[in-house]
Symmetry: D3
Amino acid sequence: MRFAAFGEVMLRLSPPEYLLLDQTNELRMDYTGTGVNIMANLAQFGYETSLATVLPDNRLGQVAKSAIAKYGIRTDLLTFAHQHIGSYFAENGYGQRPTQVTYQNRHHSSFGVSDQTAYDFEQVAASNDLIHICGISLSLTDETRSAAHALAKKAAEAGKKVCFDFNFRPSLNTEPNKAAFMKKQYEQILPYCDIVFGSVRDLTDLLQMPLSGTEDELISVFMEMYQIDWFAGTKRTSANNQKQLQGFLYTRDEQAVSTSRELTILDRIGAGDAYAAGILAGYAESWSLTETVEFATMNAVLAHTIHGDVPLTTKEQVLAVLENPGIDLIR
Amino acid sequence: MRFAAFGEVMLRLSPPEYLLLDQTNELRMDYTGTGVNIMANLAQFGYETSLATVLPDNRLGQVAKSAIAKYGIRTDLLTFAHQHIGSYFAENGYGQRPTQVTYQNRHHSSFGVSDQTAYDFEQVAASNDLIHICGISLSLTDETRSAAHALAKKAAEAGKKVCFDFNFRPSLNTEPNKAAFMKKQYEQILPYCDIVFGSVRDLTDLLQMPLSGTEDELISVFMEMYQIDWFAGTKRTSANNQKQLQGFLYTRDEQAVSTSRELTILDRIGAGDAYAAGILAGYAESWSLTETVEFATMNAVLAHTIHGDVPLTTKEQVLAVLENPGIDLIR
Amino acid sequence: MRFAAFGEVMLRLSPPEYLLLDQTNELRMDYTGTGVNIMANLAQFGYETSLATVLPDNRLGQVAKSAIAKYGIRTDLLTFAHQHIGSYFAENGYGQRPTQVTYQNRHHSSFGVSDQTAYDFEQVAASNDLIHICGISLSLTDETRSAAHALAKKAAEAGKKVCFDFNFRPSLNTEPNKAAFMKKQYEQILPYCDIVFGSVRDLTDLLQMPLSGTEDELISVFMEMYQIDWFAGTKRTSANNQKQLQGFLYTRDEQAVSTSRELTILDRIGAGDAYAAGILAGYAESWSLTETVEFATMNAVLAHTIHGDVPLTTKEQVLAVLENPGIDLIR
Amino acid sequence: MRFAAFGEVMLRLSPPEYLLLDQTNELRMDYTGTGVNIMANLAQFGYETSLATVLPDNRLGQVAKSAIAKYGIRTDLLTFAHQHIGSYFAENGYGQRPTQVTYQNRHHSSFGVSDQTAYDFEQVAASNDLIHICGISLSLTDETRSAAHALAKKAAEAGKKVCFDFNFRPSLNTEPNKAAFMKKQYEQILPYCDIVFGSVRDLTDLLQMPLSGTEDELISVFMEMYQIDWFAGTKRTSANNQKQLQGFLYTRDEQAVSTSRELTILDRIGAGDAYAAGILAGYAESWSLTETVEFATMNAVLAHTIHGDVPLTTKEQVLAVLENPGIDLIR
Amino acid sequence: MRFAAFGEVMLRLSPPEYLLLDQTNELRMDYTGTGVNIMANLAQFGYETSLATVLPDNRLGQVAKSAIAKYGIRTDLLTFAHQHIGSYFAENGYGQRPTQVTYQNRHHSSFGVSDQTAYDFEQVAASNDLIHICGISLSLTDETRSAAHALAKKAAEAGKKVCFDFNFRPSLNTEPNKAAFMKKQYEQILPYCDIVFGSVRDLTDLLQMPLSGTEDELISVFMEMYQIDWFAGTKRTSANNQKQLQGFLYTRDEQAVSTSRELTILDRIGAGDAYAAGILAGYAESWSLTETVEFATMNAVLAHTIHGDVPLTTKEQVLAVLENPGIDLIR
Amino acid sequence: MRFAAFGEVMLRLSPPEYLLLDQTNELRMDYTGTGVNIMANLAQFGYETSLATVLPDNRLGQVAKSAIAKYGIRTDLLTFAHQHIGSYFAENGYGQRPTQVTYQNRHHSSFGVSDQTAYDFEQVAASNDLIHICGISLSLTDETRSAAHALAKKAAEAGKKVCFDFNFRPSLNTEPNKAAFMKKQYEQILPYCDIVFGSVRDLTDLLQMPLSGTEDELISVFMEMYQIDWFAGTKRTSANNQKQLQGFLYTRDEQAVSTSRELTILDRIGAGDAYAAGILAGYAESWSLTETVEFATMNAVLAHTIHGDVPLTTKEQVLAVLENPGIDLIR
């Protein structure tokens, strides 16, 4: 199965060793983004993956391309235009101290100012089997919104699977009346989608669907309404200073939840993308729902133990830990 | 409220990543000390703070001044004289391995060899509302002892609040007959003090006060004896490899204890100073005792999750974690 | 003499050890800008300095403030608004390989979107003796342009010295018809200026003044036209892989050129600001033109031997090297 | 008591801060190996120790020698020949992610291609009281196997104590029929041994001894068969994401097990060698079995909290933590 | 033009900042080798490039693949087998102190133990226009020798250009009678070659060709003998502590030498490969001999100013420095 | 020949990459001192060397011992007492910017407060052939002065060679009347000395010997007066931003000067000690004066190209560069 993603590439800048930005002059630079994370993880799993995005036409664009190639992602769908890349500073949390993210330069990035005319979406659809579209594109700018809608339509018309991630960020949607506007955007793209990542809260708060019955029923209504094949997501719980993660996965007929897994957190960011990559691997391999959700959840657990957003796990590694949970040394 | 502290600035040298001094040639350099820590934290909280100390009249003094300014502390009360700064090497512990501190050059530092003639204590008292004096000054040298007594008297006479921290270090007081001598020193300074940080053990072991009734009664006797307004401190407990911290705060009428908080320790040193800064913030803001002690305790908990001695927390951050204890990502 | 500067604070991100951005994940972070550089250097020289700028109202703004305070610059004129800071990536050159700079996010930075309403220019003028305005403000955005003009007028009206730096960057002025527009901007601000940093090329190319006679005559015409007190700059030459620097300084009556100094380059950026700071020190101290230009040139030479844009030289150090050129160890 | 070890010196290369090899260009280099680890720890405990090995006759051999000397191990038994050293890459695990070790170049290392003719085993036996032989030598190459047998015989004949560590690594023994061959090797060396480190699984799987009765009985049979004085080892358990370690120690008459200790793991590798060093310290000091096993187990617990394979604990430190388990700061 | 190279991928391990291996525990890891270097540089120049090699079938092979992809080299000709990679330690020289290289594990590497059966040389020849073969393969092992001969033959038969680099390393050929044997190997491969990199010394010492006339005549004889199209190389000179580099390039009709360029050396290794890549770019573009040799020489000069073996120059950068030799800042 | 040195061990703390102390929190830690430097270099040359000093009886003393052992120096003459070590901060210069050294804590260090009763000078003299005494001991404290005199006398009486280094530091001798006092100290120790390192300025300024004739005559008078066998030193010159070094060596009969060598300076400190070690190697090997002075001068030249004070050169390396001055790569 050949995968492509449409989404922003960002520069992540983090101080080393849990230091705050005031405590050091040293930053670690990584190239990241929902599309990068999922495509990189799927490439690690052995699939052919591509990324459709616009990178700046300068040194930072070249360096971003190198980073993407290093992850094993094909670079044939990259476009180079304009001069800016979005970035974020991540001050890694520790214990009770939360990770603090500060965004910079997203709206005016090369990606942010590019609409569908910057891409060859025909080729994106033609050369891939499943297209992943990150919901952030709907919030970011008029241009990215327009591009996302265009790609979803094009891919669906070409008979390809469309995978969509709600990924709703309140911090990108603070203007008044933005809620109603965003609801419309999501409603417009969902009919083209086959696989959706989200939460019950996305359905109730963003889509304003009424929670009259159980959560299961709500999800069922949602999936029927948009003819969604798979709906998946995770739940995070915290008790006694110990965090846990549990994955869920619905088809229109069945549902599965994973074992609830304890989290040991080295890096909090990117775990959701690891879960998505795990679900897509199960989809590609036609694993059972239970196998899929267990794999995806453990993949997300392991992503918490890896620095950076990009989940550099392999299938073998995830399966090894699933089979032998206490293992702490492989040689 | 304008705060000033009188105390030593030390150079802290720590190997990175929990390494021992034999394992690396690399050290992290920080400027620290009880006064620095508390004033820096209060500056982070938005107060005007100053530090009265003597720094070496050479490159290290200049660099220390830069570091102090970076923390947001005003540098107008700094004096530059002599050639030496005290330092300590901290090999950060991990799990069951304790942090190991090795002191160097404290007695002959520019601070250590300076008595009250090196300072303009009139100005210190005049331009601030609350003066913090660290008890280590009473142990260090004849000169620092003399300066501490002089400042306490001057501040009290000027009608300013005096805040005193027992901070008794057995390792600085190993000579024979030092116990009786130190008892006298503490008894001499306490009548000038309004806010005191300490423990029951300070009262029984250092001041030799008899524990005939409950601890509450002892503290009450102590506070009446010296007309102390606020007496505050923390208790650390350890069970099943899990450490906990609880703060207490007494006025002569009331008392409050905080929720007992689990500790996740990145850096053990400086947490007591974070607690003190939290209490002083509550004092400045006239928060209730309970609000104050909860804020101060959580501030100390967060200080354990930050590298170095200096608690770089903000009021907003402490309150955010108090309100939403499981939060692990802010963006 | 109290100095203030108006200008942008930028984040400089550079790989360590002459590495390219493709070769490392590690970046060094510094806060810089013409105003920061000159005010920091003058603070090192012992003067009181301030910076009037707008920093983002988030973690990056707080960290920038800490960095500015660390340089010894007063932070009382800083404003916090909006969410963005400009940045640049500097890949340090070595030997024949030039340093490569890539800018990001300047036009939409908190500074770039702020006009004079964001500042209290009354206070800037009232509390300082000399105001430095960087010419980049004229190129950057309509808002910074407007603010620069307003400040120059206000300072001149208050009877304060205005120092202006041409600092013309072709890369910020590539639009058609920008040349004529920029000429007008410079012509509008110069009447308010007392001290100007620039080059003959700025006069001929930017101001379109005809070079009919000698360069000296042209400069004389320019200085009379705008009633400039001091006009200063440097010339860089390169022969046999060896670079040299020479400073010049004109009053309307006299002129001086410095010894031509060989350059050993550790970091190429910021040397012009060091030269400016040296000239301003001579101005403040009423040194002779020759003393001033020699000091300023050696200060610029030393700035090439210091990492980063900010020239952390002291007066004593510059004078020591002037007096003892071969000295390589001080202990 | 003077100790010597016979064994391989390896270069350990690990990325910093739990990074994967794909995530960084930076590696930490350490010189390690069972013999190095145990001799270094015993040197830290105050004993005279030596290492008999062959190092490459090039820069890496010189650097390895420096590293060995730094650990306090005497370098008089080192031989320099050939050009290669074995190495391994350790990607440190975190939480549920296991540490991943990748070996390189062991069979063709200077140690691997050297048999007994490369050493002066007479001198090794003559100048030491106890000789430690690592079982890996029996698996590695014909040359190391031959050398190990020769040394065991020579030491036993000289009346010196021989200490042997099963240290069986399936990954070094994957050829068909290797099992029977290895069984013979172990049976051949055991008659010379006085102290043996191993597990019940070594007896049942490697030596193919039948487990007809209890484990204690099996160990008793084994110790009688080869006239072993001390047999010692550890058991690792894992429950609820919490790992524990327990040590055991048998003489032919008695047995002792340690308190079960929780593990906080900074670096997983080398803990077994720390346990061995602790047991040998008890042997040298004639501590009781219980004292010995408690000391050795806590030494292994602390080794998990120290970076690298080499347990840089001191006797004082181990005893301090045994006496005061919650201690987290020494100053 | 599509390029492929056949050659070894090595791990380069270098201490930072000119430190010796005894002075630090920190190493920088890079993946390198003549083929990697030239293909990476040509990829930077915009060509499609591939590498035919065998990498270990373990973590190090995966990481090497990532590194190769990051350079922009296609990974479709990589094979994964066996468990070892060759490596070298480079202690970077400074001033009069030479760079010191120590090799490890080359003969038993996955590449070293693989002959032509490990590759699909049909595909290598079919999918590329020019195949580069490094002469080190002739020295390394019987297997690499055999593979090199097979590939040269296959490529020539397919009508593709064969480019060969003498790259003779005495340290890999120290056995007695090796000289005559190696002469035969080189004589056997040269008839298949179109472009050859070497020196006069290679012709006289290795091929034992008599230098009866001028060097030009000797080269002419050599090129006629083997029907070589292009013969190119460099000459290094050193005078007064200043090193210089000059390139030469012969066709059977013409010859060109470059300007002699001063060298500023940050990293000595890989400059020869940069020269080769420059020549191949000129070949692909049909530049004049003079243009080609000037470009290639400046490319080699710049390669000396870049860390590591891999010349990360771009065409634009080389041309910019050729046109503006004194340039030290681009923004 | 067995060498021992008497002298202080200091902690050197230097920022990385030519950074100033204000620019980084990172320091490199090294253990150094004239005695350490010379003994380490002689150990690298293959001699048995020892160091007689007092180290603090705490973690820093243990770590210093490890560092000394790593250099290959025997640790049998080390004493552990008191709690302090002297240190210095070195901000490495670059180009025209001189290296800046700031000392800390020398007078109260464990070495500084220890007189001859802390050592077993009998054993020092008995177990070595040549004893090196650094002149700094004469300036430091009454205790070190007394110890130096005692050792010189003891070694001379035991018939061992005494080597003395003037090493006069004005910064350690700023008190009034110190000049006359220091003159007496040097006059008192010189009669015991056989080999002396110094300069003509030491003779004229410190010993107040009149320079009536040539420098050669003055040196001759000095050597006769104290029956010195060898007198050696270096001259540093600087012209056109290019520094040079030349060594000289006198016996009472002969004299030799080395080739004047250009300096490329990576680290300025410790080069004098490298020269001394080179002279002592020539003395031990009975090389000719010319061979000795050329070797020593090149050793000093190479020491300038190595980080830190300790010259980690080998005999082979020095000879290789002497024979092949332009060599820049060894593999």
